[in-house]
């Protein structure tokens, strides 16, 4: 908005599958650019629809792709069309970049501003030029055999539309990569919160950006607490912990300049309020505002909100609602930065503390992991016990890249073995087929984070436990858009499995059925039982986590609608960071929050006996087993008759 009003032609695009851009601009947006009224210049806004964009992209290239597949594989047109019509889970990132390039070309523009998905999937987005290049390479391998045969039969080879398509994809890849890596043309503004978890995520995220060769122009620390109007334990506590985070941010992320944006009374919504926000965001960067020294005397003193309401051993009231003994899978999801990870860790700790329960696996499936930071332990892909917690609790941060690398290593050997076997003693090497297979294995399928997360959940739930008690998985997901993608994956995967089964049955007379068919039948059964598990309210439940503010509330309403549409049961709604009584500003904040809480209650508390949980804002934010446990004891049930 501010760029446009400086007299430029600007397009703003949201690539996050859970869009909030329309909410921020205060108007309905769609996949086609819509004008946003501004005082000077022009502003258009788009919320990408990856599925529709993929369908359009494929439609325009269907013949070329089919030609290449027919020439390079043993499938017929019917098979190829069937595979081309399947939905491809995880294409948001791939198609996001292609659409950006297309939109930027389509109309004369001075600037394209991109609102990305949260950290983990934005890093995936930046890997997509490489994925595109690999796709072009696989297609080129398939086409190579055709070129060779044409040359052998007809002399000179003349490039056709299939070759043009391969060149187009290659050029798209290198063009986007060059744009992303050109600091003159592309700059990245990294936005974070003044919280310890956000800083840790930023460290990892910025390292990822560095690896991708993308220049970061500025770090924006948003929602920093201004000095309170009067004495206030909460505000002062927050300012102390924020000061520590800000000092560490400036130190750790040097030399990138840091801009501090003060928390506003309400979130900017609509062009009018954005204008005042723009002054803080785009004005002179200035100096960091004066903040209390991080090491001051009252550091670590729990604020009023951490008072214990019960003895330390009592089971928290919400445990039986969120995790009755029958529950196998509890999924935490919501917008970025609302406290999903902290809430998931708190729930898992409470479940594992119950001696009657079985093993609990606390699994983070967000490629930008925060779980280890929330628990204050170093976690990795191998699950481990958490010091200070029950030995029944194990925690793991899923590493999809590692799982994929292991799968690749297994099959690279198998492919070589296979082709050596095919070659037998002869000199003839099926070099073309070998190249196709080698490049296919090098290609990372889209949505690997979701794929391996489901694999890990299934593995954990089917594992035998020594005590005989069944295990429970508490899943901390990536923010909204990708959590929904994860839950939709079993359906999409089963379509693929069914397509493969049909092809196998069709060519049964030629190749027989064999082990692949057996594995696909097993996989199909597993996917069916996973689909059933995800929709069984006794065994599975989703907990939506949100904050009592405008944008998170709207996103939560859409999340709940989509979960309903998918038939995924929702066990609870956790509204986090409720401001406790404090100074005049805190009281104003609490009054605004109450409106949002009541609006959420109207949407959520509709008959079903599921709780809406209010969790207080505390400073510093809870980290580590003990702090999380204490925080969980302060969660309250929302009572419409009382002020939240």
């Amino acid at each position: 908005m501010a760029l446009a009003e400086s007299g430029r032609r600007v397009l703003v695009v949201s690539t996050d599958p859970a869009h909030s851009l329309g909410d921020a601009l205060g108007r309905a947006l769609g996949p086609r650019p819509r004008p946003v009224p501004v005082r000077r210049g022009t502003l258009q806004a788009v919320e990408l629809d990856a599925d529709a964009a993929l369908a359009r992209w494929l439609d325009q290239r269907r013949d070329g792709l089919a030609t290449i597949a027919l020439r390079g594989t043993y499938l017929d047109r019917e098979d190829v069309d069937r595979f081309l019509s399947l939905s491809l889970p995880g294409t948001d990132e791939l198609i996001g970049l292609l659409e950006l390039a297309r939109l930027a070309r389509a109309s004369p523009l001075d600037d394209v501003v991109v609102d990305t998905a949260p950290t983990g999937h934005t890093l995936r987005l930046l890997q997509m030029p490489e994925t595109l290049r690999q796709i072009a390479s696989v297609l080129d391998d398939m086409q190579a055999k055709h070129r060779f045969l044409s040359r052998s039969l007809g002399g000179q080879y003349r490039a056709d539309s299939a070759d043009a398509l391969i060149t187009e994809i290659e050029q798209e890849s290198s063009g986007i990569l060059a744009l992303l890596r050109d600091a003159e043309r592309t700059t990245f503004s990294w936005v974070m919160l003044p919280e310890a978890l956000s800083l840790e995520e930023s460290r990892d995220g910025l390292a990822g950006l560095r690896r991708s060769g993308v220049a970061v122009g500025e770090i924006v620390v948003n929602r920093v607490t201004p000095p309170p109007p009067g004495p206030c334990a909460l505000c002062e506590g927050r300012r102390r912990s924020e000061a520590a985070v800000l000092a560490e941010t400036a130190r750790a992320l040097r030399p990138i300049p840091v801009r501090v944006v003060a928390a506003r009374d309400d979130e900017p919504e609509g062009v009018g309020t954005l204008r005042t926000f723009a002054r803080a965001l785009l004005g002179p960067r200035g100096r960091l505002p004066p903040l209390p020294a991080p090491g001051s005397t009252r550091k670590g003193t729990p604020t009023a909100a951490t008072r214990r309401s019960r003895g330390p051993t009592a089971e928290p009231w919400w445990l039986s609602d969120l995790m009755p003994p029958s529950r196998r899978l509890l999924v935490f999801g919501g917008k970025g930065g609302v406290g999903k990870t902290t809430a998931a860790a708190t729930a898992a700790l409470a479940r594992a503390a119950d001696a009657r329960g079985g093993r609990v696996l606390l699994l983070s499936a967000d490629p930008a992991h925060s779980l280890g930071d929330a628990l204050s332990v170093r976690l990795g892909d191998d699950e481990r016990a958490v010091p200070g917690a029950s030995p029944r609790l194990r925690a793991r941060e899923l590493d999809a890249d590692r799982a994929l690398a292991a799968a690749r290593a297994r099959y690279r050997g198998a492919v070589d073995q296979l082709f050596d076997a095919l070659r037998g003693g002869s000199n003839l090497d099926p070099a073309f087929d070998r190249a196709v297979m080698q490049d296919l294995i090098a290609l990372a399928p889209p949505g690997i984070d979701e794929l391996f997360a489901l694999a890990a959940v299934t593995d954990a739930l089917t594992q035998e436990t020594s005590a005989g008690a069944p295990s429970t998985v508490v899943l901390d997901t990536a923010p909204t858009g990708h959590a929904l993608r994860l839950l939709a994956l079993p359906d999409a995967a089963r379509e693929w499995v069914q397509a493969l089964l049909s092809v196998l049955l069709k060519y049964r007379q030629v190749v027989g059925l064999g082990q692949l068919a057996e594995e696909l039948v097993d996989l199909s059964k597993q996917l069916r039982s996973l689909e059933a598990l995800l929709r069984d309210p006794a065994r599975t439940a989703f907990v939506a986590v949100t904050r009592p503010a405008d944008l998170p509330r709207r996103e939560t309403a859409r999340l709940l609608d989509q979960l309903d549409a998918m038939g995924i049961p929702v066990a609870g709604l956790l509204v986090n960071a409720i401001t406790p009584p404090g100074c005049a500003r805190c009281r104003r904040a609490a009054a605004r929050e109450e409106k949002h809480v009541r609006a959420l209650a109207r949407r959520f508390l509709t008959g079903a006996g599921r709780p809406m949980i209010l969790a207080p804002m505390i400073a510093p934010e809870p980290r580590g087993v003990r702090a999380l446990r204490d925080w969980g004891r302060t969660w309250r049930r929302f009572d419409p008759a009382r002020r939240p």
């Binding site: 099959y411 296919l440 499995v497 493969l500 196998l504 059925l513 064999g514 594995e519 696909l520 059964k525």
Partner: protein, 116 residues
């Protein structure tokens, strides 16, 4: 679930691998055809081409026939040395590929006779 990725990535490899394995495997047991029928029935069930009831009937029938073959195979085996392969009859329906030993057999319904 990891199998999903495996299958998608190297589905094509497996096609061919199976062919090789089948071509090389000269110890094809007699119930192979029936087992493959059973697998095909499972596939049709997963594709929802047949109902659970139809599948249960087919499965019961095929399992009974597989049991019969097992019973027959359990008859005393010939002492080693006395067994020899008198002949292999084969038709090949797949694509061509190199076979060093010059022996090939059909992967589907191989007429594979073992004689004393």
């Amino acid at each position: 679930m990891v199998i999903l990725i495996d299958s998608l990535i190297i589905g094509g490899v497996r096609f061919v691998l199976d062919k090789v394995v089948q071509a090389v495997d000269k110890e094809l047991s007699d119930d192979t055809v029936l087992r493959e029928e059973l697998l095909a029935a499972q596939m049709r069930r997963e594709l929802e081409e047949i109902t659970e009831e139809e599948f249960a009937r087919t499965e019961a029938d095929l399992l009974a026939r597989i049991r019969d073959i097992r019973e027959r195979n359990r008859a005393p085996a010939p002492p080693p040395g006395e067994m020899r392969i008198a002949g292999v009859e084969a038709t090949f329906a797949g694509e061509e590929h190199e076979e060093g030993a010059g022996e090939a057999h059909d992967s589907e319904g191989a007429d594979h006779r073992r004689r004393r």
